[in-house]
Symmetry: C2
Subunit: 372 residues, 2 copies
Amino acid sequence: MFTCLRHDGKARLGQLTTAHGLVSTPAFMPVGTLATVKAVPSEVVAATGAQMILANTYHLMLRPGAERVARLGGLHTFMNWPGPILTDSGGFQVMSLAGLRTVNAGGITFRSHIDGARYYLTPERSIAIQRALDADITMALDECIPFPATQEQAAASMRLSMHWAERCRAAFVTRPGYGLFGIVQGSIYPDLRKESVRCLRLMGFDGYAIGGLAVGESQEIMFTVLEQTVPLMPSNYPRYLMGVGKPEDLVGGVLRGIDLFDCVLPTRSGRTAQAFTHHGTVNMRNARHAEDSRPLEDTCTCMTCRRYSRAYLHHLVRSREILGIMLLTWHNLHFYQTLMQTMRTAIAHGALTACVESFMAGLRAGDIRQSS
Amino acid sequence: MFTCLRHDGKARLGQLTTAHGLVSTPAFMPVGTLATVKAVPSEVVAATGAQMILANTYHLMLRPGAERVARLGGLHTFMNWPGPILTDSGGFQVMSLAGLRTVNAGGITFRSHIDGARYYLTPERSIAIQRALDADITMALDECIPFPATQEQAAASMRLSMHWAERCRAAFVTRPGYGLFGIVQGSIYPDLRKESVRCLRLMGFDGYAIGGLAVGESQEIMFTVLEQTVPLMPSNYPRYLMGVGKPEDLVGGVLRGIDLFDCVLPTRSGRTAQAFTHHGTVNMRNARHAEDSRPLEDTCTCMTCRRYSRAYLHHLVRSREILGIMLLTWHNLHFYQTLMQTMRTAIAHGALTACVESFMAGLRAGDIRQSS
């Protein structure tokens, strides 16, 4: 389901083929937690250039429930997103959100953060839920541990995740255009990452993800783990860095051979008045925007920048208007997709290094001067 | 600025010509309180069929401030709404929202509900603010009193409003395509309404509004006041029933000769899970929608009904997702505009009575049966 079309250093231009369409890689997936990319209608998600979105198994299993989504025709029909969808396994949110968790070799017992109802998530159940949702890409259930973790903790957890991965591999029903990804764990320990990759390669997956990063470690540590881990991963399968990240993280990930990313940052930032621009992150609450009639970015072609001024966005944010959240989220998603498209084009022309230098220089330069 | 094209009983088909375009009447104006129709981008407002919107002087004078809007090119540019805009005078919200109000013949002293800052709103200041906002239609400052009010209270208040209307008339700078509307007051007392209309006609306005209704009285009382008041109003000027209302109120208003309406109901209802349909109001929180794959209305052509199921809307509402607010608000605005268009077409064909009977029968029939 993956074809690598071209290399530029370690970076790769590729194509992922799924039952619901193609994804050009490197790609960024907007997060559609509860079957909606927050504050964005699906046609606007598509208009930003996104080809694949991520949905959260944990949230959807609680509400509206995977079997209900299945009866309503699957997630694509339910949320009016005809393109590819990747679902996570539920493991990450169980760890971060659910109450009274108990993890054993069998699976995870937890209580819903909504109503306290008791659930039991096993590798087999996670796979069944993701199938009921009709996910194009299913993720193996893994355990996510906090950072920092001792080598002993990380080793025990990684081995549990490998055990679960094997059960996921066995439970997954192979269908054309549908794939199962394994998740490399091992925290910041190279030997554990190496062991994890070896385990997963023996089982054989349709793609390989790196989990357990973007959990509080520095960017430097994250990049070091990527440099140690990515070369061990098979070259003919997609590589997915989970939960990452800032624009600079995406750039660094692509340079180190990553093909797929997801993160709540562009959408969450839209709800906290943060706008991503080629001049860095801009806080739209800041009073300096109050009479600035310029768009957020004069070179941006998104719906927000073509139609609305910084002054108006500032006013909406200050007034806590929903439209402010909508317009900033739309811009941020467009910014992320434009960045990925720019990197894909640069890889195609063997010009990624220059492209990245130019992008990083823009971020360092900071926001445009106040209008006078 | 107003042309009556055709009568059907007391109902009228007309056209209002403003500096920013035409408005076919009877018309319903969505409310864009803080320079945004809540949760609706301006191009979606236009796509629902709305031709003119209302913005609130009280809110805009506090934030971002009328002079700031003027420096940013006026309200049309600021909020990216190129069509006609009507602004209210600020009087109604001062009465309902502001703190520590003092009303005397000169004007209203009040404190901002945002930061407690002290303001003084006079007829002249209200007109100046509305000019700074670049409102196509400016409303005279009036005093709004609660329902019920004694005849003495209503008389004193109406006479104060007439005094202010005269000062507004004097302060308003006549410009092509811009108009000033006077507001008839007098509560439920026919003699006071009559006196108020006579006063306003002597001053001469570009349109006449009926204020002091939709403040808690029954629909029967409101319709009675309309039946007593509308015939006294000049036939060659637009008639605007302020702050009304439910779909049945719009129908009753049109039948009684009203040309313009505004109300927060379709937008506010979108934020409280209420959907307007030809089968009555539907509460999308209701569990009966949870597995209903049908659209809100199968005959509706709005973005929501063409793309999303009741089950999905129910899920969004239950999950408190912003997209739920957006999609319901968009549908509700489309419903209101479709109702107005249906009535305009019916008037043009002399078929309003049959049209209204059919519409009211639909509402009485109630929502479609649960899918099985």
